[in-house]
């Protein structure tokens, strides 16, 4: 009887068996990124964002078509300088707020974080995996915008009238995206409610930083090198007739009349290309490290 029982038990799998080999963290980041990216692409907000970018592109196309007579006299350099250089920063901020504003806060609010946190993964894997996925989704949107402009450019100037400046400018825009997204992720990890993360990052990037930039340069009359939005002027600077590739900003002083015979000087700055790049990288690194450290200590309470 005892022997019979023993053999019956032996047939059952005995625990613990050979332990599963959990993939390394880098490998897990890639796997999480793939799943998150798929999730972003099929999300409603991606569709909305694509809609917004198509609308912006459509408006620009219509405006360009309306003023086409004056285009003839200007170069493709001026065309890309004003359209890409002027609007890429806005598209980047929009994408970063859409995908980054509640990236971490939403994990708490929607309780999706609990689905991941019981897994054998480091907290930082979740943060980095989500970051890369948001980056890829934002890049899709940014390149969609670029394609719309390229189509317009090709129509008016011919397919091979691409100024070489477009390449460094696009690269700068991508680095700017790294920095802006890193910053939105950091702010997002400070909140446990999607709406707060969303609203705060939107306010910061759509008004806050530009306001701060204006205060610093207009009132303090100092170069606002500490403000992330200032760095974005490098994206357009590349197209300038004489490019400031350096680390120092260019001062632009404008005299504005304030009364009969009286003038005031308004000082503003444009960042040098290397300077803009340095600011972007600094924001990317600092917000990345701080965000990761905060997330490591975050409780899913």
């Amino acid at each position: 009887m005892a022997a019979h029982e023993a053999s019956a038990v032996a047939k059952l799998p005995t625990a613990p068996r050979t332990r599963l080999q959990v993939p390394g963290s880098v490998n897990q980041v890639l796997k999480l990124t793939r799943a998150q990216f798929g999730e972003y692409l099929s999300s409603r907000r991606f569709v909305i964002l694509v809609g917004i970018v198509i609308a912006i592109g459509g408006i620009l196309t219509a405006v360009v078509a309306y003023f086409r007579s004056s285009l003839v006299s200007s170069s493709s350099l001026a065309f890309y300088g004003s359209l890409w250089g002027g609007a890429a920063g806005f598209v980047i901020v929009l994408a970063a707020v859409f995908f980054g504003g509640d990236a971490i806060a939403g994990e708490f609010q929607n309780k999706t974080g609990y689905f991941l946190m019981g897994l054998p993964i480091r907290r930082s894997v979740v943060y980095v995996g989500k970051y890369i996925a948001a980056l890829l989704a934002s890049l899709c949107v940014l390149f969609l915008f670029l394609v719309i402009l390229l189509a317009n450019g090709a129509y008016y100037y011919g397919g091979n009238a691409l100024p070489w400046q477009l390449l460094p400018s696009v690269l700068l825009a991508v680095v700017y995206l790294f920095a802006v997204l890193g910053t939105t992720f950091l702010f997002s990890s400070l909140f446990k409610t999607s709406a707060y993360g969303f609203v705060l990052t939107a306010i910061l990037f759509l008004f806050g930083f530009t306001l701060l930039q204006d205060l610093v340069q207009g009132l303090v009359k100092m170069e606002p090198w500490m403000v992330i939005s200032y760095a974005s002027s490098a994206i357009g600077e590349v197209f300038a007739p004489t490019v400031n590739w350096g680390l120092g900003g260019t001062i632009v002083s404008t005299r504005i009349p304030t009364g009969p015979g009286r003038f005031d000087t308004v000082t503003s700055y444009t960042s040098g290309v290397a300077e803009g790049l340095a600011i972007m990288l600094a924001y990317f690194l600092i917000t990345g490290v701080v965000g990761l450290l905060l997330f490591e200590k975050e409780e899913f309470a």
């Binding site: 625990a15 999480l32 309780k111």
Partner: protein, 315 residues
């Protein structure tokens, strides 16, 4: 081959100056199901979240299969399947995609993954929904997917926080079947619940917690025999106050009745060991005594009595 274990030593969690869990000492070992029973707010979820490194202990440490969760979350959680706080799944994913993501992150061999996903999905009766987006699912359907997610890698240690939450009665019964199946396959299951019956139905052992303190941890059989002689209580309702002391003695002398007390003038509490068949006879005998019996309550088990008492004290 060692048996699966879950261990908490000096585990304490304070939120501000509120102590949600107070120096929990608990070691679960071997293939069995342990119920973590306690009223709402007792500290069950808090405990399970520390066991899985979702929140950090104020003091103490947890171990899964001897590996510190706090020091080595990634290694410790590799052997565990976890369902805590009914998580939400990314709404645009299908169950298959969500489970695929989990299997990938856990390192399930690619050749086994598809078969295993089909297996757990049918185990939780969601095979027909495998390729529909989770976003439209009801709470109960999502909970089934959550259970599947906790089991997809066939873990040695299974930690479930109120797994029947959001399920209809049939779903609850199915969860119990799943847990019984796990037990048969020599897994250690630690399952929290505020519903006594759920624990009694599937668990071998019970840890009772209230207000952050562990009251006892023992086998269900021991709990039942240790307290109140193991006999369930039955309350008898009367139409009129019981006339005399001798009537109470008569009742106490009926077959199967081990004790008998007058709770209120019109209510008597019996301890009864006669089983379901004896109950029919008990009712007939009570009626014969002509004391005005109007009702006979369902028997209340000893554990239930203890649990109810704890909750009453809490309120």
């Amino acid at each position: 081959m060692t048996a699966p274990t879950i261990e908490a030593t000096g585990l304490t969690k304070r939120f501000g100056n509120f102590t949600a869990l107070d120096h929990l000492e608990l070691k679960l070992e071997g293939a069995k199901c342990v119920g973590f029973l306690g009223p709402n707010g007792a500290g069950k979820t808090t405990t399970l979240k520390m066991l899985t490194d979702m929140i950090f202990p104020t003091a103490g440490e947890c171990f899964i299969n001897g590996i510190s969760v706090q020091a080595e979350r990634k290694v410790a959680l590799a052997d565990a399947g976890v369902l805590i706080e009914s998580p939400e799944i990314y709404p645009s994913l299908t169950p298959r995609q969500a489970l695929q993501m989990i299997a990938d992150l856990r390192g399930l061999p690619a050749r086994d993954t598809k078969g295993r996903i089909d297996e757990v999905l049918s185990e939780v009766k969601m095979a027909d929904w495998a390729d529909k987006r989770v976003g439209r699912f009801s709470k109960g359907m999502k909970q089934r997917i959550n259970i599947a997610a906790a089991l997809v890698h066939d873990p040695d240690v299974v930690i479930l926080d109120e797994p029947a939450t959001g399920l209809d009665p049939r779903g609850m019964a199915e969860v119990r079947d799943i847990v019984r199946g796990l037990k048969k396959r020599n897994r250690l299951i630690f399952m929290s619940s505020h519903i006594l019956q759920e624990v009694v139905d599937v668990c071998d052992e019970v840890a009772l917690i209230d207000k952050g303190k562990l009251l006892f941890y023992d086998t269900l059989a021991n709990v039942t025999s240790k307290f109140a002689g193991g006999n369930p209580t039955i309350d008898v309702g009367l139409a009129r106050p019981l006339g005399s002391e001798s009537a109470l003695q008569d009742i106490g002398a009926l077959p199967g009745v081990t004790s008998c007390t007058l709770l209120e003038p019109k209510r008597i509490r019996l301890r009864f060991n006669g089983g379901p068949d004896g109950r029919e006879q008990l009712l007939a005998s009570l009626v014969e005594l002509r004391i005005g019996v109007t009702s006979l309550s369902e028997p209340v088990s000893a554990l239930e009595e203890i649990y109810l008492k704890q909750i009453e004290k809490g309120d």
